[in-house]
């Protein structure tokens, strides 16, 4: 019996169309748009001006405040604009546009792909390197990694959990990273263990990625303290709290952080980025992105430079299908639909999913029959049917009492609802408003 989390969860069709496709390198485009806010927290402040030439890996915007991340140029060339661009959701956001010229790398970056596994740096040095490299959580939440690796005073990490779950249907980028960059990921894990001062790391992988499990198990056999743990396939196992429950059996209390039970969770993509930042001095300028969809000609996994327009990636996979109705950044359960496919790939883009025809259209909404399937599906033990009504009616105090802030927005409720109600739409709205209410109360 494989481990998994206890409450709720669903099992959507996996549709991992690109699982067998190796990582290909996407050609560098003529122009990249690098957003200054690719992370949760304050946008970075630009340190280059229009007309300046930059190298690959050069710092172009500095982190602003504690919860923020550096931004580096992913190409070499000339800055043509430090301006706003229209992002994937249609809002104007500050960004730096660079016209690509040449292929000049920043000097201290080691370009060779030789495996370096001798960690000679101290904890603080590593932490600084991670911060300098602008690494954020690569699973999609884009929380600055340096912040996550600095536990608040008084709390001590006991175990590092590496998220190789990839429970979202369709997405395969983490899967391919684990297969093709297994050694690098493991070194990354060792670096993370050193930073946190823990001697145990668990790599949680869902059992639908047997090849990755075997490969990592073979490597970690000789490494002390790293365990590869196959997990039962169940969504949303990639949720931090769910993964901790599945891996170590501990429940993070409501409103608490994983560190409350001594755990720190990092994505495999982040582990790879940490390896590259520390051992190769390479900042976060590229990432593996899955391009997939049932009508996409060549679904695959591409190593893309940050800032590449999404349309280039779609072209590489055989172009936009004629009947495409929806383009989603991320997976089908938690990804965001996009209005603008000229928007760039960012640090948090784990995949691009194209849906066609009816697939992209929601079912007709019926009335709630109180079947309680949403309650059974909720991995946080909430009552989505109730939260939806409360938040639709603006009853925020009640929402708070019913623990709306615990919602992880996984979408299991909307996915199961036989009446096809937009449960999560309203819950997310209510969660936002309730959060604002709680914050204003503290002031």
């Amino acid at each position: 019996m494989l481990a998994t989390f206890k409450i709720g969860g669903v099992h959507p069709p996996e549709n991992k169309l690109s699982a067998k496709e190796g990582i290909k390198v996407l050609p560098v485009p003529e122009q990249v748009i690098i957003p200054l806010s690719q992370h949760i927290g304050a946008p970075a402040t630009p340190v280059v001006g229009k007309g300046e030439t930059v190298k690959i890996g050069q710092l172009i915007a500095k982190a602003e405040g504690f919860v923020s991340a550096n931004v580096h140029s992913s190409v070499s060339g000339k800055v043509v604009a430090v301006d706003n661009y229209i992002d994937a959701s249609g809002f104007s956001k500050p960004s730096i546009t660079i016209q690509v010229e040449g292929k000049e790398w920043e000097e201290d970056i080691i370009i060779s792909s030789r495996l370096e596994c001798n960690i000679t740096y101290t904890k603080d040095e590593i932490l600084k390197m991670i911060a300098d490299a602008g690494i954020v959580g690569m699973g999609g939440a884009t929380f600055p990694t340096k912040v996550k690796l600095s536990p608040p005073p008084g709390s001590k990490a006991e175990v590092l959990i590496i998220n190789g779950v990839e429970c979202e249907p369709y997405l395969t980028s983490d899967h391919r990273v684990m297969l093709e960059k297994a050694e690098e990921v493991i070194v990354g894990v060792q670096i993370l263990m050193k930073v946190l001062g823990v001697n145990q790391a668990i790599i949680g992988i869902e059992n639908n990625k047997k090849d990755a499990i075997e490969k990592l198990q073979a490597i970690t056999e000789k490494k002390i303290g790293i365990i590869v743990m196959p997990l039962k396939v169940k969504y949303p196992q990639g949720g931090e709290k769910q993964l901790i429950k599945a891996a170590v059996g501990k429940s993070v209390p409501s409103g608490g952080l994983p560190i409350a039970v001594g755990a720190v969770v990092q994505n495999v993509g982040t582990a790879l980025a940490v390896y590259e930042a520390v051992m190769k001095k390479k900042p976060l300028i590229e990432r593996v992105v899955t391009i997939t969809g049932k009508s996409v000609k060549n679904p695959g996994n591409y190593l893309c430079r940050i800032g590449t327009p999404i349309s280039k990636l779609i072209e590489a996979a055989g172009g936009m299908p004629d009947d495409a109705t929806k383009v989603i950044g991320g997976g089908p359960m938690m990804g965001r639909a996009m209005t603008n496919i000229e928007a760039p790939i960012t640090k948090g883009t784990s995949g691009i999913l194209i849906m066609s025809g009816k697939e992209g259209i929601r079912n007709e909404i019926k009335t709630c029959i109180r079947c309680s399937k949403c309650v059974s599906a909720c991995p946080m033990g909430l009552e989505p049917y109730l939260l939806r009504t409360l938040s639709e009616n603006g009853m925020l105090e009640e929402c708070e009492k019913e623990k709306i802030m615990d919602c992880i927005e996984c979408g299991s409720c909307s996915y199961t609802c036989p009446a096809c109600l937009p449960l999560l739409d309203y819950i997310r709205l209510g969660k936002g408003k309730t959060g604002a209410m709680i914050r204003s109360r503290k002031k």
Binding site: D323, T325, R336, A337, R362, R370, E383, D406, D425
Partner: protein, 321 residues
Amino acid sequence: MNTLIISPSPHIHGGDSISKNMYGVLIALIPAFICAVIFFGLGAILVTLTSVVACLIFEYLIQKFLLKQTPTIWDGSAIITGVLLAFNVPSNLPLWIIVVGALVAIGIGKMSYGGLGCNVFNPALVGRVFLLISFPVQMTTWQLPEAFALLPDANTGATPLALLKEAFTSGRPVSELAINYKDLFLGNNAGSLGEISVLAMLLGFAYMLIRKIISWHIPIAIFATIFVFGGILHLIDPTHYITPVFHLMTGGVMLGAIFMATDYVTSPMSHKGMIIFGIGIGVLTVVIRIFGAYPEGMSFAILIMNAFVPLINRYFKPQRF
């Protein structure tokens, strides 16, 4: 390129739908219907058909002309109400009475609250209890079963529970009652047309569990409570109180626990709440059967517990993470 569609996540749906669940319940009711036809013949078909058609017509009329909604009669819920109402009445009930029952079930039991999803009480049971109180004679004149006869003789008799009640009130020891468990299991006994066969009910239960239409909590809680509570009474005084197995296998316990108490709209939302709900029904059923005026208590027990559902939902929250 088409205009892109934007919607909030999730972008996929599990494909479950209200009608899938409703028709699933109807499929689960087929074995019971077959049993009814085997033992009660044409009468069972007529009563069921009348009830379903009447429910559909009333639902359509009320939605179209009173509530001014787009009628949704084919979502399956009105058909279920019709079938369950028919399954809760004797097979020789005059057809006009069943039409009245259907009107009460759909009109008062369901539509007066605003339609599917809003009602507090199980519509079929509202109709049934209304008929039981308004037409007590017709509603308790039971056709005796006669296997594989299309038009069985008009022999009427008492249900096992009525016999028990009679014995109980007249002071005769219940242990003298002749109980044929095989007949009870297969359905060869008098009673409402859908409740006679335990076997058919259990088949339906298994089907609904496999299809994940219902969870096990409510029926199992009811069975366990009746067994335990009835068992305690039986152990105290076996001459006075019958074995709990008899309670489980007679009357509407099976039909009620599996098909009526698990009605989505009128049952609690959390698993804890479901178990409390089931225990309440079990206790009330035994209490009504043994100490009440009616030989059968399932319908009343479910309706009473229906009234407590909002309260249960308020105080029995699902297990939080």
